[in-house]
Symmetry: C2
Subunit: 321 residues, 2 copies
Amino acid sequence: MFREVEAAHQRIKKFVNSTPVLTSSTLDKITDSNCFIKCENFQKTGSFKFRGACNALSQLSIMQKKKGVITHSSGNHAQALALAAELLGIKAIIAMPQDASPLKVAATEDYGARIITCGNHPTDREKAVEPLIEKHGYTLIHPSNDLRIIAGAGTVAYEFIKEVGKLHYIFSPVGGGGLLSGTAIASKHLVPSIKIIGVEPKNADDAYQSLKAGRIIPVKNPNTIADGLRSSLGSNTFRIIRQNVDQIITVSEEEIVAAMQFLLERMKLVVEPSGAVSIAGVLSKQLDLKSKRVGIIISGGNIDLTDFFARLRKRMHLVNQ
Amino acid sequence: MFREVEAAHQRIKKFVNSTPVLTSSTLDKITDSNCFIKCENFQKTGSFKFRGACNALSQLSIMQKKKGVITHSSGNHAQALALAAELLGIKAIIAMPQDASPLKVAATEDYGARIITCGNHPTDREKAVEPLIEKHGYTLIHPSNDLRIIAGAGTVAYEFIKEVGKLHYIFSPVGGGGLLSGTAIASKHLVPSIKIIGVEPKNADDAYQSLKAGRIIPVKNPNTIADGLRSSLGSNTFRIIRQNVDQIITVSEEEIVAAMQFLLERMKLVVEPSGAVSIAGVLSKQLDLKSKRVGIIISGGNIDLTDFFARLRKRMHLVNQ
């Protein structure tokens, strides 16, 4: 499937940001390794999801484009598909759960997509879209299990390794598994000796459980701050991850917040909880990374700072009086 | 003085981060121009000040290094000098005003500097350091008016223009004037046609007033959220700015916060109020930038996110119960 990643890279490069790779001497000191951070929080729409969305929509037939596309997403895939659809002049319908971040819902609407609200349980999402597909002939663009989405997500690691060269390890978050699958395909082809590490919240450890059991075990009540990682592996992502990923590790909620705090305070990067789990995995020291070259993918940066700015403005007015 | 900037660049390059330049299609659309953002919030210690500190300390005599250095600063120069001194094995004493950000005070102490607390009025700072210089023979490293500090600050624009090529405009914040002076020296030499724009808070508009009057008019009660810009021009920075800067524009407190919000929410960059004033100046549309190549310097990213994370953890524990 590496050729699909290469083709995706060619197909989407005029739409996507080639995101920067940053380093941090503090992080290197803490981990006793050489870390490289691929910043997909700087991607358009604030997450890597825009890559897969562009890749999938670019490949639709004229008839499919005319009828429109549909998906379900808690936020990042929603925004990504909405913008990609807007750029390509395609109608997009997005089912978003009731507990989705209001900021992500607003951004998705801003890009011109039509939102339908569904329940919070993972299976509610699919129930919401199926009748609409039947009725209107929309094409479903699944947020993670679609092979075009996986190939698009693989362009993150493709670009990353082309820029920094050989890595010993690459850490990626895992939710539905699209990013981890794409990362594994691109990385193992470019650097066969690389170790692929998926990191997920302990409170949504379906990838860990599924790999251990040898079959898909969907997450039941994912109670994690990492809203982008509450979904479960699908048939394609499970197969690809099982074949190509070396290890899945899990991190606690506190480890996720501490990683996010490190990134915001020390590295000045706005990162969402789901985006910070890969750094949390590195900082958790479950693997011996001594003197290794370690690639870390930060998947997105869409957090709600409304409160922070409301308080800042309030304090400012108090001072200015 | 351009040679001093070039020499500083050579002298400090092994210590400093060569910070990335970012672009934003949203910002380009809003401003109808081509913006390049030099991110000194990614500099070591979180601001451009580290460049000047390294340049100044590298040039001390053996005797001066042995006796130690002293300065006064509300935070960014304090942290920068503390780390530069630590790296070079020099003792550093820093006078910080009572109203300095506790986070900046803690960071300065972490780098091993000795802190002395002084009053909040700009003149209190100098009163605090003078007797110590007399008694112990410390070398004063002024945060902005020192020519070695100015040359170090000039390496920001030097690196910036070497990377992105010719610019029509360059926007820099102005507080004590070290960054704006260095920016003007480096930029005018590399691109003689470039327009240098200094941006400062309306509530601390001493540079604007001083240039209008033709003499230094120190700021009296700077009531601005941009804590790094409450200081006034000095003899050197006034002279350099008067000769080389095309225009000083001012921005309101709300414009500063809105710019900061744009940078955090849309560009995923943690930027402090002082660091955001240059973007605020661009967004204020006081200048016609249509189709121009515009360089914008973000000077630093040291904001206090303690509250934000305390609230996040609290919310997380509520959810996890």
